[in-house]
Amino acid sequence: MKAKTHTITLLGVSTAAAMVLAYVETLIPVPFAVPGVKIGLANTVAVFLLVKRGWKAALPVSIVRVLLSSLMFGNFASFAYSVSGALLSMLAMIAAMKTGKLSEIGVSVIGAVFHNAGQIIMAIALTGTKEIAFWLPPLIISGIVTGIAVGTVAVLLVKKIDFKQ
């Protein structure tokens, strides 16, 4: 019973933290003229949960965060982009984690790159414009950079935050 309460609390706090991070991020101006470039601060929570508690904790938090954020701040289009990015990113990170050969940084980079790829795929599907693939190279590079930063934070979180049980 105690373990269950702990899990419920952990997932609730994680979802809230991820949502706040996603909101804080919208306040930071992005100096690039490429649509979709962002830091992905909320992914620190996802990587942390994935490492500490596995996909059964990370996946639901990611989905609930996207659902709640879209309900509060978004519209249908933004929901479609968020959910496709978040899902593809999470699945790729779960697969990367399963190999057991990558650190938080590698997992986070893969998550960031697949997040951007998922949004591009959704944008192509929604607008029927295959030329949007033009944005893939800059988005992949930005995913590498932000993924390394987010992964480094996740390394610290995993090291510093310890569950006593």
């Binding site: 050969k101 940084i105 030329e131 033009f134 893939l136 190279p137 992949i140």
Partner: protein, 122 residues
């Protein structure tokens, strides 16, 4: 995290960077100077301008949304827009076939096409 996983991280990151470079090369090699800028709203072509003439056109898309398209020196760009994110204004001018400026909030796409109106890329 240890030295071994860190090495794997570097390999994965390098591989991803190579993929990005390959996609970039394919995109660049398959494009050439275009002839027309095509304006699409909601996926439907509404106007077509030659890149050889300098113009400034107001593109209205209902509900008061306006993008100002400018063609100058064979290059098309969005000079101003009243969409919330202004990403289309920040984007560089386009002149090669297949290049696009996309304003997602207004569902507006400006794309460059080649000779005879044929979409030459891909």
């Amino acid at each position: 995290m240890n030295r071994r996983t860190l090495k794997n991280d570097v390999i994965v990151i390098a591989a991803i960077a190579v993929v990005a470079a390959v996609i970039w090369c394919v995109v660049k090699l398959s494009s050439k100077a275009g002839e027309f800028a095509v304006v699409e709203l909601n996926g439907v072509e509404t106007a077509r301008y030659s890149l050889n003439e300098d113009i400034r056109a107001e593109i209205a898309c209902g509900d008061g949304c306006v993008n100002t398209l400018v063609i100058r020196n064979g290059e098309a760009y969005i000079e101003s827009a009243n969409c919330p994110d202004k990403l289309c204004v920040k984007q560089h001018g386009i002149r090669m076939t297949g290049e696009t400026i996309i304003c997602l909030p207004h569902r507006l796409i400006v794309r460059i096409i080649g000779e005879y109106g044929v979409d030459a890329t891909v």
